[in-house]
Symmetry: C2
Subunit: 154 residues, 2 copies
DNA sequence: CCTGAAATTGCTACGGT
DNA sequence: ACCGTAGCAATTTCAGG
């Protein structure tokens, strides 16, 4: 007995596709586009949220305008994988770490870091990440240009 | 003559911090919290948007509930860096590619890919990415668990 | 799954300090 | 430069088919 996956129809897709790129899109403009009432849109949104498909909405900040001009990926090697849990808890305390993944392949942990400049990145690497117990070494890739940033198509 | 960076005050921070985690937070609830009118909040939001700090708002989908359970990072080696522009344009056509970066270090291009399962990931790697002219080889890291996902603190 | 009505909130123009 | 009031449009909830 497989758990039923919520089925979204064409109207749900239109709603989500409009709101994915602008969470403040007027509901009524979507309502007019698909030909149902605004209240019906709200009901569908509540269902999508209850199903977990809709995880929330966010305002997106531009890090560069705030002075955060260096984006980097850092692969972290651990002395042993048993140190993972502690290490990730320490990473959470570092504000510059915006993503953290436990990965297959060379690294144990793979993080995305947002810093003001390369000097700031060096400080975070040498004084914060390398100080975490269990971290043996790191490999850094600086993003010089990001050309794609989107969500999966529905 | 350095370009002046827009200065955000405490009220701006409260506004942004509330909207970062929920773009549909009622403006009036923020207004009551900080003790100014809703109109004043709107004026500040317009300024923040004009300054570029506020890049927009998005609905966040949960890929797993939609059946996208495999998240992976792929480092792409190019035969020569002159192929970058063409390669990234081909990557844009692959829906599963949700991020693409031009990076320093081992790889030329570094992408984040969202797939339904490992088989789907293999298809994307072998039949889509490896088919791009100029791509010599790839290295893949599958994210087994993502513990951190946030924006820079303001 | 939908509509329509009622209350609340969003948004903008204009004026005040 | 920053804020408030006012007015209309949109959002959101609720009752009901």
């Amino acid at each position: 007995m497989k758990k039923e996956q919520y089925l979204i129809d064409g109207i749900d897709k239109i709603i989500l596709n409009r709101l994915i790129n602008d969470a403040r899109t007027p509901i009524l403009s979507i309502a007019r586009e698909v030909g149902i009432s605004g209240a019906a849109i709200h009901q569908r949104l509540r269902k999508l949220e209850a199903s977990g498909i809709l995880a929330g909405s966010k305002f997106v900040l531009n890090p560069k305008v705030l002075g955060y001009k260096t984006l980097a990926f850092v692969g972290i090697f651990l002395e042993s994988s048993s140190k993972y849990k502690d290490a990730v808890n320490r990473l959470k305390e570092i504000e510059e770490v915006v993503e953290s993944h436990y990965t297959t392949g060379n690294y144990a942990i793979f993080v995305k870091i947002s810093c003001k400049d390369n000097e700031h990145l060096m400080q975070v690497l040498n004084h914060r990440i390398q100080n975490i117990k269990g971290v043996s070494r790191t490999e850094t890739f600086i993003s010089l240009e990001q050309q794609i940033d989107r969500q999966i198509k529905i």
